[in-house]
Assembly symmetry: C2
Homo-oligomer: 469 residues x 2
């Protein structure tokens, strides 16, 4: 970033301080992993690492001092939105910001995506928290672990895959440019978008997001968003030519089914609305927006906030789904919904046949009932937090005299807490969260943080028993 600033003849200092601090946090994480942390230490580390990087990430925005990002609350919002891979922005004018500042946002998101991969596989799945151990059932991480005897080994493999996918995307985008089908795609943009696509993060240095690029680029982005929200253990095996994990994964089928189902519904609605004629443009607009929302990336190629109530509400519902566990995706994740659905079907059965004993099975293996309960808890708590946040956003905006529609508030609450990015109304895909009052923004900052690290690491810090020895 410093080099980039030098290259673009922009101020260098803003990027030196955070880089040093980020490096320090990274190193302490590294060191920590070598020990054998209890849940208490793990939660504290995870919660404070994300918060620390968010605070530090604020500096370049404030020090650069341009546009809306010069305001400390806005800068904190943008930084937390970055490191949590949310992608909600408070920038209202992209032209006033230097290329280095805009790239800093992309880097934050890429680091956030990497952090989640390491965290999900390396720490949280070990602690069997909130259904994260399901990922193991589903993908048999232990087979990977056998390859590499320690947790860090697995985390490093998946981290390597993440780096590799990012590099691959840069290469593909530049190849398209070389082939003459992506004239707008220079090296800067190729790197910037590669950093935030596999991370399912969604910041873009372009005001028009991925809409600034040619159709073929948009299709490539769709592919990498989809991959970014696919379980990385499955991807790892695929990369070694082993397709059995993919074929065995019930979760993958649900993930794919949700995307395809939403595409059919949204596409039909848009066609009936006369939004697009039958053709590639209709298909691309639908597939892009649906994939972007369901994978929790948050890019846009069109202003979907201008669509009618039907497609907008399907996208809204899609926000709650998310991609596969064990990826960079956010939100509730298809794995949890799969367990919720299967358990509910089982419960309907046992309601009628109380004597029957029927474990819930995932990819053929029975899941422990405690895990099922954890999944229900996580899902219910998420939905309740979303509801309370919506009401807060509405009431706080009314108090401050900011006009927010109910649907705008619902979208903004879901989009920040579930780490998607764009919402509806003034915080739509081509809009900005800047008009929200500072109090709302600060609560959203907290909720992005709580949501990205899966609620428990933060909420346990609020209990008395956490701090008693």
């Amino acid at each position: 970033m410093g080099l980039l600033a030098v290259g673009y003849r922009e101020p260098v200092v803003p990027f030196l301080v955070p880089f040093v601090v980020t490096l320090a946090v990274g190193l302490s994480l590294e060191r920590f992993e070598r020990g054998d942390p209890g849940p208490r230490e793990a939660f504290l580390l995870v919660a404070s690492a994300w918060l620390a990087v968010a605070l530090v990430g604020t500096l370049p925005f404030v020090l650069a001092g341009n546009g809306t990002l010069a305001d400390p609350v806005n800068a904190l919002f943008e930084s937390m939105s970055g490191i949590t891979t949310t992608g909600a922005t408070v920038i209202d004018d992209f032209a006033v910001h230097g290329r280095a500042v805009l790239m800093w946002r992309q880097v934050l998101q890429w680091l956030g995506g990497l952090g989640i991969l390491v965290l999900a596989v390396g720490l949280l799945s070990e602690l069997s928290m909130s259904g994260a151990q399901l990922m193991e059932t589903e993908t048999r991480t232990q087979d990977v672990t056998k390859l590499t005897p320690r947790i860090e080994g697995t985390a490093r493999l998946l981290g390597g895959l993440y780096v590799g996918l990012t590099a691959l995307m840069v290469f593909v985008l530049l190849a398209l440019r070389a082939a003459g089908v992506a004239p707008e795609m220079d090296l800067y943009n190729a790197v910037a978008h590669a950093l935030t696509t596999v991370a399912t993060a969604g910041f873009s240095p372009e005001a028009e997001s991925v809409g600034a690029f040619s159709p073929v680029v948009q299709w490539v982005v769709v592919a990498f968003m989809f991959v970014g929200a696919t379980n990385f253990v499955v991807l790892y095996h695929l990369s070694r030519g082993d397709t059995t994990r993919l074929r065995d994964s019930e979760e993958f089928r649900v993930y794919l089914g949700v995307v395809l189902g939403a595409v059919v519904v949204v596409g039909t609605m848009l066609f009936l609305d006369g939004e697009y004629p039958l053709g590639e443009e209709l298909l691309r607009a639908t597939v892009f927006q649906v994939t972007s929302i369901v994978t929790t990336t948050g890019y846009a190629t069109v202003d979907f906030d201008l669509w009618s109530a039907g497609p907008r509400h399907v996208l809204f519902l899609g926000m709650f789904v998310g991609g596969m566990a064990g990826s960079t995706t956010c939100s509730i994740k298809t794995l949890r919904w799969l367990v919720v659905g299967k358990t509910f079907r089982r419960d309907l059965f046992t309601a009628v046949h109380p004597q029957a004993i029927r474990p819930v099975r995932l990819s053929g293996r029975a899941i422990d009932e405690g895990t099922v309960r954890d999944v229900y808890t996580y899902t219910l708590v998420s939905v309740v937090i979303f509801g309370l946040l919506t009401v807060f956003v509405v009431v706080d905006a009314a108090r401050a005299g900011v006009e927010v529609t109910e649907f705008g508030a619902m979208g903004a609450a879901a989009s920040t807490f579930l780490n998607i990015g764009p919402a509806f109304g003034f915080a739509g895909p081509y809009g900005s969260y800047e008009p929200f009052p500072d109090s709302t923004k600060l609560v959203m900052v907290a909720m992005m943080w709580v949501g990205r690290i899966e609620i428990f690491p933060v909420l346990t810090l609020l209990t008395r028993s956490f701090w008693r020895s």
Copy 2:
């Protein structure tokens, strides 16, 4: 009803047919209880009984043929809203309907409330469905059962209490009239409102609902709404002078706390809005509306839809709470939220201390983990159904060209599925559900039915395993 129609010189026939059918359903229920039904029979009976009465209850409205109720879809909506004690109305002009027709709505609700009491205690709690057995833990129904050896005995005791409370309320209202402080409260109105208050049902033959009566009447209604949403086993012991059950009940404390907390918040907001000066009117308007919503009654004394975003949203959140299990209340109920809250606290503790084993305790007794999971399932499924219904209401209205705000749709979805009654916008407390398209109304009819009998009895009917022997 027939006699009333004769008395008021209105057509008699509309009321004869449904009365005979209702009686027949009642008798078959009675006979059924003497047997030892399995869950399959119980679900089928409960689901079909509510549906049959709703269909039959439609007849007087259609046959009377006045106003909006002459339309079959509207009539079905009103009838289902009656028997499910919802209280959502499609009447837009009360003056065109005869007194007999208006009383028929009240009677339907009173029967619905009685049905739920008998059902909750007599059938569902025996089947240990969806956390209903918690009620036993909390109130030790078995002590009552000891007094009366069979289920019907308990059901009859509580039914008797219900009848007694209704009669008491008629008496109190007429006494107030005799004392000269309730001039508008004639015998007709006293009976009509007593029938729908203890039932926490909320229909009123007055267009202004309870706002048509003097302040002292409004306070009396508050008291009976509150009692109607209190566990009837606790009430039974209270009626015998035993206050220990009340004092031991953790759920009662939560129920009271929710009402008082909401009163403080709403009252403060209304005062700051300058809606009322500090005084009895502010207190009464707040206490009445909060109690009406939290107990799921749905009466109003003022048009709370005209309040600002803050108090309206607090009322909206209050819709999801509901009163105590084992009463006539609808919605999710405080008992379930209490279990959800306690379990979540426990989960935060065990997240930090994975080795600790800590059962969730209710009034000192440990609850079985399967029950905890049932409670989570029920709560999550309710919230998900509410969300999907909201989206359906918005999209269906847009399709039909009916203008519905997002908040209006949220309110109407919650208010019908959770059986409250009034919502916001044109379906507000002094409004009507009539403008919704027929397709929306029919879906709402189904959801009132699903919600009132606690989801499972209907949803199990949709599974294949239900119909296989």
